[in-house]
Subunit: 394 residues, 2 copies
């Protein structure tokens, strides 16, 4: 029961979120927004189900109430999680699912015509994972006289600064992440099959704590090992771990859809010198990055602090060293807004949350260290408490 | 090690798959196909990583070799799983990720221009989960003089009839599904938190068997309980199971990305009459459906056999009673081709595989029974061996 109470969002908070979204609509002169990213649906209404594999969306008219669209069988149960009245929830008929000739967005557009005036500009989430070109074209065809524009992650940007409620969820998620990682590091021994270690991690993620049950992560545990540790996104096999090899582990603790991701590296046996040295440099780079995080600095400055440390040792990292986090659904736990990289001009403010991930993916080996953090009024708050060293099991 | 050997696809099988895809391209007069569905990428090349949250695709020119595109950090490790040479794998630069002004498909289109002649019609997977409108528009803009068309699930349809290799994967997946469901039914007791039962299921799915480690499912375990059992796609909470309530459980066993989904219903205590009667009727409906599956019958006929049984008892089911299965990636384990429903004209042939799922989602309660099956030369092969009755724990 605990989690449902602690996850409950106050009605005021929902209306505040919607007000912030509508302010952007007004600023851009948009008549409506069609939200299809499951994380954005959850943020604005609480709607939460594994139903995003068929089309679903929330229509946010500039004026008037929001309208939720989902497959009929999911619309029927939407009220279990979302804050909308039954007459704001529209279920499209079952026979529209997976048909070559007709599409759910034909039907959705038909209903939307009543809520979106002719001549309006309508923003859509043109780069969201579950909004397809076919859906986009059907929506456009079904809304004659309106123009579809890219929202450019409008709601994702509104999500950037977290409320106190959201920070509480993230802290609980951090506790679950730390516990899952402790179990992973504790159980990783030569001869253990990768799939059996993953079983322990998955169980720890779901169980959470006696007070707070865990939720499912947007990404399964990833643990490239041996040569493959040079590539970040391989999932597991049933091969056993081998003495003399390093394994990078990336996982998340999740509470009420809020994600605290975490990465560490485990060496079975004496680490090669290059790994030991890289681990030391990366730990220093993490310290430099974390101590730079402060309201008023840019994402670029955080990256520069890290980069100065590793560059002094001749190391190079091409990819970003972090990204904004919060609500997550498969296939990604990032918010797709602020990245910690040279091109990032966004100024950090208190309440933003980041996964600072220092992944060094070399040719045939790799090292990962990460920390989920929150920007506070006077610096940074870590969401987990594990050491930033390379873990070694001799 | 076992699973990697058993999962290995013969080079001949890959070339046969590509030949079948190219035959359809020729038939439709297409100059190229851009494959972005991760299941289709895996089918055609073996490429397998949790990298589908940033753009990736396989270009299949009507003439010439296939070309794989992925983010640089993923392209570097693609050779661990796919059957392509390094010069067929193209990594787009890191700075294109999550940018408002430029998109990875701008870059991908630029490389594709060398492989796709002006004037060609190019099919794209316009309703695949990870191909966005923004990616689609960027690809179109970057390929001037070529026309983009919807592939209409071209590769998915090529996947419909399974090879002997694929049937072996499915049978192993069926064994894992059965074991995970046995554990779920065994551990579901009053007072157990939903999240703790899910922890057991997830662990069983990953562990698999001593011979065959499990792979991750495209969908997390779903177990709506009590009133919520009337809605199919709710995920878990940390509330405990309660005596007097029924729970529907849907999960999959997965081996080398092949999915055998399975659903059962557990009643804690004496079942209400409506549940007991529905369970009996649905079991009869399952028998009727399975005994109708035979090479030469349509998907519609299978649905009709089920529907005749339940209609005689005054029951109605609006949604399809099954769909084609095989390779799966989040968020769905269905192939998005053949459905078992009134509109389905596809004729079944040996080697097709289906998840026959009889979900009766009522107002405030529900019942689910399913069976993953393969169409054989002389009927149907079940992939799991559990009873088709309602499970009752008094």
């Amino acid at each position: 029961m605990s989690d449902l109470l602690e996850q409950a969002v106050e009605p005021d908070e929902y209306s505040g979120r919607l007000t912030r979204v509508r302010a952007v609509l007004a600023e851009r002169g948009l008549g409506a927004l069609v939200v299809s990213d499951p994380a954005n649906l959850f943020y604005l209404t609480g709607y939460d189900a594994w139903s995003f594999y068929t089309p679903q969306c929330l229509l946010v008219p500039a004026d008037g109430e929001v309208q939720l669209f989902a497959r009929a069988m999911d619309a029927a149960g939407a009220s279990y999680t979302c804050n909308l009245r039954a007459d704001q929830i529209h279920g499209y008929p079952e026979h529209l699912v997976h048909r070559p000739d007709i599409h759910p967005y034909d039907w959705i557009a038909g209903v939307c015509r009543d809520f979106v005036p002719v001549g309006a500009d309508v923003a859509v989430e043109a780069d969201a994972h579950y909004f397809t070109p076919r859906g986009y074209l059907a929506l456009g065809n079904g809304l004659p006289g309106r123009r579809l524009l890219d929202s450019a992650e409008l709601v994702n940007w509104v999500r950037l600064v977290k409320s106190e409620h959201e920070l509480r969820q993230l802290r609980i998620a951090g506790g679950i992440a730390e516990q899952a990682m402790r179990i992973a590091l504790d159980q990783l021994h030569p001869g253990v099959r990768q799939c059996d270690l993953v079983a322990e991690i998955l169980a720890a993620q779901a169980t959470g704590t006696p007070e707070h049950g865990g939720d499912y992560p947007a990404i399964v545990p990833m643990l490239p090992t041996g040569n493959a540790a040079g590539t970040p996104h391989l999932t597991w096999t049933d091969r056993p771990f081998v003495a003399g090899e390093a394994t990078t582990i990336e996982l998340a603790g999740v509470f009420g859809r809020y994600h605290a991701p975490l990465a560490r590296t485990m060496m079975l046996g004496d680490p090669p010198r290059r790994l030991r040295e890289t681990a030391k440099i990366v730990a220093d780079g993490m310290s430099a990055a974390l101590s730079t995080i402060w309201p008023g600095v840019t994402g670029s400055a955080v990256h520069a602090a890290f980069n100065d440390v590793i560059a002094a040792h001749g190391l190079v990292k091409e990819s970003r060293i972090g990204y904004s986090i919060g609500i997550g659904y498969p296939p990604d736990w990032g918010e797709r807004t602020v990245s910690l990289r040279p091109e990032e001009t966004t100024v950090l403010t208190a309440g933003m949350a980041f996964h600072v991930i220092l992944g060094m993916w070399m040719d045939g080996w790799g090292y990962e260290l990460s920390e989920p953090v929150v920007v506070t009024a006077d610096g940074v708050e870590r969401l987990t408490g594990l050491s930033h060293e390379l873990t070694i099991r001799r």
